[in-house]
């Protein structure tokens, strides 16, 4: 009987359950996608070659688990808020507490199991889709990636079912312990938050100070080393929290004084925001941090990828050296735009390659200004006397030999060079071009032709193009992970926020119903919903972007232009975040805005 009643309750609120299930399914799907990468050792190993990467993933995984816990806690409170009134009523009518507890437990677990399973299926689909997009659109090369990966499935199931078991126990305890009357009236409680201006001012100052400390810590990562990250995390978290709680209240109070408040439903919206600040401060803080992490991951990943051509320029004075250019190769070279070419003669005797000094006087071979990391790739030409001294130790020069053996390089005066007997004569052509990325297809063909004729004994790399290819492969992995991390975090944080907002809908139904009764236009009510939710979405978004702008300072020692891709990633991010905002408002409007007339 009780089971029947409880099922009827679910049926009545089917829409709400749909929201709950959808949210949980998306969360499970995202977690699966992430676990898929993080638990795939082969993938991490083969795509990064950086020992840090697996740590990054473990760190990301821990974060994601924490978010998932928060997320499920919110989802569970949404569930509980839907059900406690019903169950309170059953108890009032004499149902045994233990029986109710049992029902709640089963219901919670069932929802968990269903959403986990569907979520994993969706996650597999999403992994396929996203990886396809990344591979095809961005031309990334990634190895050992499987959309369907068993360890990830097991991890996801363990975490989710475990968490739902806990939630079930929690719900059981909560319902059994709370007095029946309180269960029936739990929705009526209202919190008033009145604050003293002095406290508020202190909060703002302390918040800004803490944020500043965090930002400085990130910028000074070279001096602070590893300490910078935890320091920044703690100070930024606290700072955001204080700032949110003080600034929102302050801003709302200020706005309430203005004419703005008296127009339309503005006062109502402001009051709504004010009333929710306390319960929202925590989630807004979390969301802003996650937003920053996600956006940061994408920016950094994309930034690294984009710097491959730059790195190519900074590691070599030329893009490619072509030995004994033949007709085919000549054709290809002439297709290249914006190139400098230089050709030198070589004579090989035994194991030594001789160069005509005079040719280097007439057409000096440029050298890198500096061989330090992160140099800007600028070049210099040396007078011949100096050039001869350094060239023999310079990779760019020694690498010009035909690649079929261990050869030494030597300079010879013009006459000596001409008089070399028993020598085979060769040429080497150096091409330097500005835009490697755009012409990489031609360069690829050139390289293939060269490798066929002069198979290199080792993967000894000469020329920027080789470097470009190596870093491109390396950074593809990073970018892929950056995107993956970024999207996983974004999806999670936005879902968290969505749930938190949706779980407030119950109380708002009454409010909007009242507004409808006294003749508020639907358009105005929609505006109110959008305004309120926009505030809740925009605030952490803005702080998150600020966090990222400062946070990228940490990558200055590692990257040429940490900010190069920031604009784009912010744009992409805002679009996706905006989609979440749109979905949340749509669902919310459906939940709370009543029909104008009862049976319309």
């Amino acid at each position: 009987m009780l089971t029947k009643l409880s099922l009827a309750g679910i049926k009545n609120r089917f829409k709400d359950y749909l929201v709950l299930l959808t949210g949980l399914i998306i969360s499970a799907a995202v977690f699966y996608m992430f676990a898929n990468l993080a638990t795939n050792r082969e993938f991490v190993k083969s795509n990064t070659q950086i020992s840090m990467a697996s740590q990054v993933f473990i760190f990301g995984m821990i974060l994601l688990i924490l978010i998932t816990i928060v997320y499920i806690a919110y989802a569970n409170s949404f569930l509980l808020s839907m059900r406690q009134h019903d169950y309170g009523l059953f108890m009032m009518l004499g149902a045994k507490k233990n029986r109710i507890g049992e029902l709640v437990f089963i219901e919670t677990l069932l929802i968990g199991v269903i959403s986990t399973i569907v979520g994993i299926v969706l996650g597999i689909g999403m992994s396929m889709g996203l990886s396809q997009i990344l591979f095809n659109q961005l031309g990334l090369t990634v190895h050992h990636f499987n959309a369907l990966y068993w360890p990830a499935i097991v991890t996801t199931i363990c975490l989710y079912v475990g968490l739902f078991l806990l939630s079930g126990i929690f719900n059981l305890a909560k319902l059994v312990r709370t007095p029946v009357l309180k269960l029936l009236h739990i929705d009526d409680e209202v919190y008033l938050s009145k604050r003293r201006p002095l406290v508020q001012l202190t909060e703002i100052v302390a918040g800004i100070l803490l944020l500043a400390i965090g930002y400085v810590a990130m910028a000074k990562i070279m001096t602070l080393q590893l300490l910078a990250v935890p320091l920044a995390l703690v100070t930024i978290t606290l700072g955001s929290y204080l700032l949110f709680s003080a600034v929102i209240v302050g801003a709302v109070e200020l706005l309430k004084q203005t004419n703005f408040a008296n127009k339309k439903l503005h006062n109502f919206t402001l009051a709504q925001i004010m009333f929710r600040v306390r319960s929202y401060t925590r989630i807004l803080t979390i969301v802003s941090l996650l937003f920053a992490l996600a956006l940061g991951a994408i920016s950094v990943g994309a930034g690294f990828q984009r710097q491959a051509p730059q790195m190519a320029k900074s590691t070599s004075a030329y893009t490619m050296a072509i030995n004994d250019m033949d007709k085919k190769e000549h054709n290809l070279v002439s297709q290249l735009n914006d190139t400098h070419t230089l050709t030198y003669s070589q004579k090989i005797v035994d194991n030594t390659v001789y160069y005509n000094e005079q040719e280097f006087v007439d057409h000096p071979l440029p050298m890198l200004d500096s061989r330090q990391a992160l140099n800007d790739g600028s070049l210099k030409t040396l007078p011949i006397s100096q050039f001869k001294k350094v060239a023999l130790d310079d990779m760019d020069f020694t690498g010009l030999v035909p690649k079929n053996g261990q050869q030494k390089s030597e300079f010879a005066t013009q006459s000596n060079f001409e008089n070399l007997n028993r020598a085979t004569t060769h040429t080497v052509t150096i091409i330097r071009l500005n835009n490697i990325l755009a012409q990489r297809k031609i360069l690829d063909r050139l390289e293939k032709l060269q490798q066929q004729r002069f198979p290199a004994p080792t993967m000894a790399t000469v020329g920027g193009f080789q470097t470009y290819k190596m870093f491109n492969a390396l950074f593809s992995g990073l970018e892929f992970m950056g995107f993956f991390l970024g999207f996983a975090f974004l999806a999670m944080l936005a879902s968290c926020l969505m749930f938190k907002i949706l779980s407030g809908a119950n109380k708002d139904i009454v409010r909007y119903n009242m507004l409808n009764r006294i003749g508020t236009r639907r358009a105005l009510m929609k505006q109110a919903v959008r305004g309120e939710i926009l505030t809740l979405f925009a605030l952490p978004g803005i702080l998150g972007i600020v966090d990222v702008l400062f946070g990228l300072q940490m990558f200055k020692p590692l990257m040429y232009h940490p900010y190069a891709m920031t604009g784009w990633s912010i744009l992409i991010f805002c679009v996706l975040y905006g989609v979440y905002y749109g979905i949340t408002t749509l669902i919310y409007e459906r939940l709370v805005i009543p029909k104008e007339q009862m049976n319309a």
């Binding site: 127009k263 109502f268 009764r517 236009r521 009862m598």
Partner: protein
């Protein structure tokens, strides 16, 4: 002088339930008018159709057939903006459960209908102060509903119902949740508003004491108006007695 009717209802039917479902006819042809400045009560047993009638008059629900005119306009066809604008401009509601927004102060609650109409801040302040003085709730204005007693809440709700000078105030058992002292205060207040500000009032109640404050009472029975009782020159006590007698005859 012939008074113009504020509300005129004719041939009003309401059938609940869709065509192929189980149907129930809650109103079976109702005709009446309310004149400007009149205080009309609607009484009837539980389930007789009082709330249904009020919902139709206030456009919260649509009739199956028949017409409702307020200030000469047929309101049964209203949709969308016209509907909400009608509600916010012509009608003042007082509900049994107060229906105040607990996130707004009393003052902000009262100001709401004016904000909806786009009235200027200064004018809103003035109007709110005025009603607050009339209802002697000036000292409650900055409080939130949770800080108010039931009676105080209902006063605030009444202030919100009249602040925009509607054509008619409607109340569905507004005294239902109040103790007798607060109920009486509210009824006095409504009489006062009715007499001094010439706002028509339509009060739904099943409590004879509340009904005795009205000028005229319509008795609904099974979806039809059965009896009509006028106070005329009687004082309230005699009218109360008359109502009790009338209710007595129903019971036999």
């Amino acid at each position: 002088m012939q008074k113009t009717p504020v509300v005129s209802v004719s041939g009003l039917h309401k059938i609940y339930g869709r065509k192929n479902e189980r149907q129930y006819e809650a109103l079976k042809g109702i005709d009446f008018t309310i004149d400007e400045g009149e205080f009309v009560g609607i009484m009837g047993a539980s389930g007789s159709g009082k709330t249904t009638l009020l919902n139709l008059l206030s456009t919260l629900d649509t009739p199956t057939s028949g017409s409702v005119e307020v200030n000469g306009q047929d309101i049964t066809g209203f949709k969308g903006k016209a509907l909400s604008d009608f509600r916010s401009e012509e009608i003042g509601f007082i509900f049994q459960d107060f229906n105040l927004l607990e996130s707004l102060t009393a003052k902000e609650n009262i100001a709401l209908p004016l904000s909806l109409q786009g009235v200027k801040k200064a004018e809103i302040s003035k109007a709110v102060k005025e009603v607050a003085t009339t209802l002697s709730i000036e000292n409650l204005l900055s409080k939130y509903p949770t800080e108010l007693s039931g009676g105080q809440k209902q006063r605030v709700a009444a202030a919100r119902a009249i602040v925009h000078r509607p054509a008619i105030i409607m109340g569905d058992e507004p005294t239902g949740a109040l103790d007798s002292k607060s109920a009486r205060d509210l009824l006095d207040l409504m009489t006062d508003i009715n007499k001094n500000q010439h706002v028509s009032v339509l009060l739904v109640t099943h409590d004879p004491f509340s009904a005795s404050f009205c000028d005229r009472i319509l008795f609904i029975q099974d979806g039809q108006i059965g009896q009509e009782l006028k106070k005329a020159d009687n004082n309230r006590q005699t009218f109360y007695q008359e109502i009790l007698n009338q209710l007595g005859t129903f019971e036999q």
